[in-house]
């Protein structure tokens, strides 16, 4: 999947397009990027963004803007499994910083980096993930893990391929 959209991605985008007015194709850009990123091991390339722009009839820069704005889109190659530790106020008070430090040490990377083997990506999470009652928490590949301890982190991360 180098520079064009897969048939499946097109089908998904077409589904989304159905719910928007025909002259408002740009409404589908978030859904389109999400699908395309998912199919491309969790990150977007310029070629893929261009393909989405062409498919939706948008200026390329309009797609770059969206992809670079939203933190759920990765515009650089990253590891297979995305780990986001919430460090906003509630989680921070519950010890999120120690969890981040533990993961950094465990994986040998800083936030914003991926492991050399391409297995993990420790995302710099800037926003509250809305699970304050279970802090500290992290999201791994779209799944929430709450009330974290170093042991629980090990258990979650070690299971990943």
């Amino acid at each position: 999947m180098d520079n064009k959209l897969s048939e499946h991605a097109k089908e998904v985008i077409d589904q989304w397009l159905k719910i928007y007015p025909a002259d408002q194709k740009r409404s589908a850009v978030l859904a389109a990027l999400r699908e395309v990123q998912h199919e491309n091991n969790g990150f977007l390339t310029t070629d893929l963004m261009d393909a989405v722009a062409d498919y939706l009839g948008l200026p390329k820069i309009a797609v770059y803007e969206v992809a670079s704005f939203y933190s759920m889109f990765e515009i650089q190659p990253v590891g297979r499994h995305s780990i986001s530790v919430c460090t906003n106020i509630s989680c921070m008070l519950c010890g999120a910083d120690e969890i981040v430090a533990y993961i950094e040490k465990k994986l040998g990377i800083k936030t914003g980096e991926s492991t050399k083997d391409g297995r993990y990506y420790l995302k710099q999470e800037e926003e509250c993930l809305a699970a304050c009652c279970g802090g500290p928490m992290m999201m791994v590949d779209h799944k929430f893990y709450e009330n974290l301890s170093p042991e629980k982190v090990d258990e979650v991360l070690d299971k990943l391929e």
Binding site: K60, Y64, E65
Partner: protein, 794 residues
């Protein structure tokens, strides 16, 4: 519309406003200044800089004047304590990240941020944090970026979206990391990109060619008229030490609004090219030497007299640039006719002159430039208007945004920055046939027939298809439609047929016919009489001289050239070159001494260029605009009208005692003041429609930044994409048939000429066609702009 008028009060003053206007539009109109960065009256409202916050009665918080619609009885205060505090607070935020590098910033002295910081800023910052730094981007040869200075007003982003029609810049990232740029390394391709320099309120986007060459307060601003297309955009020339430092637009709502094409903005660099001719020169025994003016002009007089005596005045020909001033064109024809010669022409890139006697008084746009945006259907024939007349294209684009259908019949599938509902791309030979099809479809749909039996006969056997019908329908249904003939139509070998068919379409569909002129005086030259068959003001000449093409074909004994490079600027480059080389005497009134010119000319007379001379341009809509010189001519150069005046006197001709160019202009104005432009009925009905012979055909176009000697020498413009590229453009299908691929070399043959060139795959070119640009050295080695061409793989 009185119902729509309401009264509001600003700073205690009652003001009239229209419903739905934004507060800032009302204050601007009434000279009440509200500070702003993101608001621009030609762009949509973004309301993201917040600098225009004002106090509005009954509103709990200050409101942005740019995004607050007026309501009846509204009371606003622009200078109240609340308003000024809000403005000052916004300024403090804007300055948090803005670098304090005004002393090395080109915008310094004309910077909106600097000005407002003087009025609203504190003298010290309360912020200790590091300032944000943004890496600069290379977005091409014209616009310099210093993105650390950007305050995210997004004017440039909206400009691309709304005015240029190509969204090239955007805001990527967010919050602290938001950046304005192209995201990927990419040059801006818009032909209007330079306007972002003007609308950028800070020094983030500045002029690359102008960079670090002067401070705004050191320069003097003088008004002039842009010399490259037939629009006549109003410009300010900025001068320091008697040198043009830059050109910026001057606002004229009826012509260029606040915009300027890149060609008009950056061509001034050509004034100071290395090959600028600085003194008169004479070739003696093959060697060039500088001489004084007296010697040079006496020499010219003697030599022309000799040719005249020996072979008659008919053996002399004058070719003049359509970008010459009205005064120059007029005096040259007066001089030529004075010595008994009618061989004078400015239509260098035209081939078909067969209907010149019935042509309109001048090729008129058929409407005002401003009216173009009111059109509801436009048929463009043979035009790359976006690059050829960018300002007219902008009006067309505005029309399309209001629902106008722009329909295209072109020999090349040019890129437009608006939607084209129907386009027909055909080889040049099929162009007349296509128009005949549209004419027939218009006739069928309207249930009418062309008035003339000859037309009926002509289109009788034409086959029409759905596209013809669709175009015909849109034209017939329009109430304010127009047919516009572009540069490629004028250069077409059957221009008269195209003109007649387009005229008949316009007449039958009850819409206007207009011509898009190529150059600043393409209209003025007709009125000045720089034509072999007509004297000034369209008066018939008793004797018809040779037209621009025939003059070259006839290989005359002597040529008088004004402001042109014939081998680059004429329809048939090699014929031009041969004619020049075989002539006994050539006097070049030129600003440049190129190798080519030096190879064939015998005398070089240095002339002043557009910013260096006074004169007049008559634009495409017939508007006469005079201008003064803004700087002294380079070296010994003189305005061409003065050179012609002296020549007239040396030949003892009557009526050459002018003191100023204004006297010349007034003489012409007296002649033309009562003329009414009109394109109706100004054509001859052709007897048959041309058809292709199956051979490969050449198509020629002239990229916008290669159009004339000045632009060809403007350094930055020459680095853009819009220059002659020395390549043979063919589509992939033809390339495959001929066994060619991108970059492979071919021997290109036309008539007796041949030259080896690299191939470029270009899907815009129709089948069995080969596009080669004019205005480049290979043009001089090739034959006609249109006609048979062969390609042989090397």
């Amino acid at each position: 519309m009185t119902d729509d008028l309401i009264t509001i009060e600003v700073d205690g003053k009652p003001l009239q406003a229209r419903k739905g206007q934004m507060l800032i539009q009302v204050t601007d109109k009434n000279d009440i200044y509200v500070p702003r960065f993101c608001y621009h009256h030609k762009l949509s409202v973004a309301a993201n800089c917040r600098m225009c916050l004002v106090e509005v009665e009954k509103a709990p918080k200050p409101l942005p004047a740019c995004a607050t619609p007026v309501v009846d009885g509204m009371k606003a205060y622009t200078r109240s304590k609340l308003a000024v505090e809000a403005q000052k607070a916004v300024m403090e935020f804007l300055l948090i990240n803005h670098p304090l590098d005004c002393p090395i910033c080109d915008q310094g002295g004309e910077c909106e941020l600097q000005d407002l910081a003087m009025g609203y800023g504190r003298d010290v910052s309360r912020y200790q944090e590091n300032k944000r730094v943004v890496k600069d981007k290379n977005i091409g040869p014209l616009v310099q970026t210093d993105m650390t200075r950007c305050i995210h007003c997004t004017r440039c982003v909206r400009f691309g979206d709304e005015i240029a029609g190509v969204r090239e810049l955007g805001a990527t990232g967010r919050g602290e990391h938001m950046e304005i740029g192209t995201y990927i390394e990419k040059s801006m391709v818009s032909e209007m990109s330079g306007n972002v320099i003007d609308i950028c309120p800070v020094g983030a986007l500045t002029s690359k060619p102008f960079r670090f060459s002067a401070r705004s307060w050191e320069m003097v601003q003088k008004d002039s008229i842009a010399p490259h297309d037939s629009v006549g955009s109003n410009i300010h020339v900025h001068i320091k030490d008697d040198r043009v430092k830059r050109v910026v637009p001057s606002e004229n709502e009826t012509i260029n609004e606040v915009w300027l094409s890149d060609r008009d903005r950056f061509s001034y660099e050509g004034l100071y090219s290395d090959d600028r001719l600085l003194s008169p020169m004479i070739k003696e025994d093959g060697a060039w030497k500088d001489v004084d003016w007296e010697t040079a002009l006496q020499y010219v007089t003697d030599r022309i007299q000799t040719v005249k005596k020996k072979t008659g005045a008919d053996n002399i020909g004058a070719l003049v640039s359509p970008a010459a001033t009205l005064e120059e064109l007029f005096l040259l024809q007066k001089f030529m006719r004075g010595i008994g010669c009618h061989n004078i022409d400015h239509r260098l890139r035209q081939r078909d002159f067969s209907d010149q006697d019935v042509a309109p008084i001048f090729p008129w746009l058929g409407q005002s430039i401003a009216d173009i945006e009111k059109r509801d259907a436009v048929l463009l024939v043979g035009s790359n208007v976006r690059k050829e007349q960018p300002i007219i294209n902008h009006r067309l684009r505005k029309a399309t945004l209001r629902g106008c259908n722009v329909l295209v019949v072109n020999p090349v599938d040019y890129d437009f920055n608006f939607n084209i509902p129907v386009k027909i791309i055909v080889p040049p030979t099929d162009l007349p046939y296509t128009l005949a099809g549209i004419l027939k479809a218009v006739a069928e749909q309207g249930g009418r027939k062309p008035d003339d039996a000859d037309f009926i006969k002509l289109i009788e056997r034409t086959n029409i298809n759905d596209k013809h019908r669709e175009i015909a329908r849109k034209l017939s249904e329009s109430k304010q439609g127009t047919v516009l003939l572009g540069n490629l139509a004028v250069a077409h070998p059957q221009f008269s047929t195209i003109r007649a068919l387009a005229g008949a379409i316009a007449k039958l569909a009850n819409i206007t016919l207009g011509y898009l002129g190529e150059s600043a005086n393409s209209s003025g030259a007709w009125l000045a009489g720089a034509l072999p068959h007509r004297k000034p003001a369209g008066q018939r000449s008793d004797k018809t001289g040779l037209n621009a093409f025939s003059m070259l074909e006839a290989s005359l004994k002597a040529y008088v050239l004004l402001g042109i490079e014939p081998e680059l600027d004429c329809w048939d480059g090699s014929k031009a070159m041969q004619a020049m080389k075989s002539a006994e005497f050539i006097v070049c009134m030129t600003a440049y001494h190129s190798e080519a010119i030096k190879s064939y000319a015998h005398v070089l007379l240095p002339i002043a260029l557009f910013a260096e001379t006074s004169g007049t341009y008559i634009n495409n809509e017939g508007r006469s605009q005079s201008f003064n010189a803004t700087v002294s001519p380079s070296g010994e150069a003189r305005p061409a009208w003065k050179i012609l005046r002296v020549l007239g006197n040396l030949f003892n001709l009557n009526g050459f005692n002018y003191n100023t160019s204004i006297e010349v202009r007034d003489e012409i104005q007296n002649l033309i003041s009562n003329l009414v432009p009109g394109n109706e009925g100004r054509w001859e009905i052709p007897v048959s429609l041309p058809t292709g012979n199956g051979n490969l055909q050449r198509i020629t176009d002239i990229p916008m930044n290669s159009i004339d000697p000045i632009t060809r020498r403007a350094h930055a413009l020459q680095q853009t994409m819009d220059v002659a590229d020395g390549m043979v453009h063919v589509n992939a299908l033809l390339a495959r048939q001929l066994g060619l691929s991108a970059g492979s070399r071919v021997l290109v043959r036309q008539e007796e000429c041949s030259v080896e060139l690299p191939v470029m795959l270009d899907e815009r070119v129709p089948e069995r066609c080969v596009l080669v640009h004019a205005a480049q050295s290979c043009h001089a080695s090739l034959g006609p702009s249109y006609g048979d061409i062969t390609l042989n793989k090397v």
